[in-house]
Amino acid sequence: MSASTTTRPARPATGRTGHGRSRPHYGTHVFLTVMAVMWMVPLGWALFTALRPKADTDKYGYFSLGGAFNFDNFATAWTQGGFPRYFMNSLIITIPTIILVLLCSSMMAFAVSRVNWKFNITLLIMFTAGNLLPPQVLATPLFEMFKLIQLPYWFSDSGSLLNTYLSVIIANTAFQIGFCTFVLSNYMKALSADLTEAALVDGAGIWRQYVSIIMPLCRPAIAALATLELIFIYNDYFWPLLFIQSGDRLPVTTAINNLQGTFLSNYNLLAAGATITVIPTLVVYLVLQRHFVAGLTLGSSKG
């Protein structure tokens, strides 16, 4: 699995000579360049539109190079669109969810992969299947359940779990645990049994084995999953859409939907707003790309 991605064998020029192979690559390059340009067009167009003042696009048209290019739309979208609030909400939802997901799933994965007991595979199957369901399948009852849960008004102004950050955190946690448990259990299974046996001889309990032996060894997998979950939960559109009614509690991804109303027919501002929401993902992409890709492939390479 992931180990094989790092130990990629150097590809010797087999068969034909190395230089002979470079000719067919021209076609490949042309194709890839055309595709790459096409791939960049939608985002590029959004960025291009965002950089131009509305007055100039009205004057010269959207398909022109005339007029100024500046970041005014970004500043306007940032304040008018209420982005600081939305980013804060995203943070409030994302960080606890990641911690809860990784805590729960690593405990579960430890229990099903390092200890042999009757229902471990059955439970693992249940967890894995849960993550594969479309969220809409359980949306209605979950919504009604959250509506029926009574909470004191100092905690929730709706008197229920609806319209709270907690509702989104719970739904995301429950939904993501399955995937992370699956990935981590595979990872932990591949660790040698001798590791915990030695600890067993020393009289270390289950908790000690989990905290001081297995978890430190799972650091690469945890890093990959944390990055992946960061993107998944930041990108989650559905649960906040379902549970949160107050616009000022929405995370960024769900709030961009409202920008269409806020920036009615001001496409420059809408484009700037869209571009702003891309920035955190791009930062993660640039800084943590390796972990993100590792996380994606970890989840899929179980054969």
Partner: protein, 325 residues
């Protein structure tokens, strides 16, 4: 990565529930230790909390969906729930104007991803797996949309598709003329426009997974094939592609599940109406729309559940068949 682990070895030796994997005889012979009371408690908590969360917020709601689909309820008070038999289903199958279009769109979504987006991702992966210059740059470009939410993908493509100010109509020379196409607004073509947007993201995802898969294929297999006189195409389809069977299964499952989960893009565009009906969107329409009809929404959810169980079962049986039950 299905290497037999020490754990499954010990499992074969038959240790009982609540017991540690039988210790290897050569190390600590005869010291098969039962878990202490404290360890059992710790283990109970470690399993109990995640399982409780999973049951309470995933599986019980799923079962409740099935229950609610046989009732009539406006979603207000629990005492208003009335048994309805299969009335919701017969309404959905025969009278609901949006259901069959939604089924068609979901199938179209699946076919489009399966026939265009997934093979495109595979093609990109195969081309980029050759040691060509700039491979990393190309990969990064194709990968960017994978990082974006589908909701944002919808917004970004909306800017591109707009009737009068969108780039596409300008490139086609129709912008501002009566011939300009409203790509997301016209009910006969907006599903295709949405599918192109979805492909933009899906192909990059498939590419990344296949790039990992291709690197895992033993290079000597390819060498042997080319020594036997197979050309590149033959080598790929006869040797490399079959060797990636585990990844292929994952891709098939992902493609099916993505097409069932498709929701965000159409919801951002027009809340899944006017040519963009999808089963998943109908569930939510009946939940939060005017005149809540929980029973009908749940019937849609159950239909979605039943269809989803097909790829889920395929995947689980492939994944877990080697394990001990």
């Amino acid at each position: 990565m299905s290497t037999p682990t020490e754990l499954s070895d010990s499992a074969r030796r038959g240790s009982h529930a609540g017991q540690k994997p039988a210790a290897r005889p050569r190390r600590i012979s005869g010291r098969v230790r039962r878990l202490s009371r404290r360890d059992k408690m710790v283990l109970g908590i470690m399993v109990g909390i995640p399982t409780l969360v999973q049951l309470a917020f995933v599986w019980i709601p799923t079962l409740l969906s099935v229950f609610l689909s046989f009732t009539r309820w406006n979603g207000l008070s629990l005492s208003d729930i009335r048994a309805a038999g299969v009335a919701n289903y017969s309404y959905v199958f025969t009278d609901n104007p949006a259901f069959w279009p939604a089924v068609q769109h979901n199938i179209l979504w699946l076919l489009f991803l399966a026939v265009i987006a997934t093979p495109l991702g595979l093609l990109l992966a195969v081309l980029l797996d050759q040691q060509i210059r700039g491979s990393k740059i190309y990969q990064s470009i194709f990968f960017v949309p994978v990082m974006l939410s589908l909701a944002l993908v919808g917004i970004i493509w909306q800017l591109f598709y707009q009737k009068d100010n969108g780039l596409l109509n300008f490139l086609l020379g129709t912008a501002g003329t009566p011939a300009a196409v409203d790509w997301f607004g016209n009910s006969s073509i907006n599903i295709w426009a949405a599918l192109v947007a979805a492909t933009w993201r899906h192909a990059g995802y498939v590419m990344i997974l296949y790039l990992a898969g291709l690197k895992g294929v033993d290079a000597s297999l390819k060498e042997a094939a080319s020594l036997d006189g197979a050309n590149a195409t033959q080598t790929f389809f006869r040797i490399v592609f079959p060797a990636m069977a585990p990844i292929n299964i994952v891709i098939v499952v992902i493609t099916i599940i993505e097409s069932l989960r498709a929701f965000d893009v159409v919801w951002v565009i027009n809340k899944g109406t006017n040519g963009l009906e999808l089963i998943s969107a109908l569930v939510i329409t009946y939940l939060i729309g005017e005149g809540q009809s929980i029973g009908i929404g749940s019937a849609f959810a159950v239909i979605l559940l039943v269809i989803s169980l097909v790829p889920i079962t395929i995947y689980l049986s492939r994944t877990f068949r080697k394990e001990k039950f």
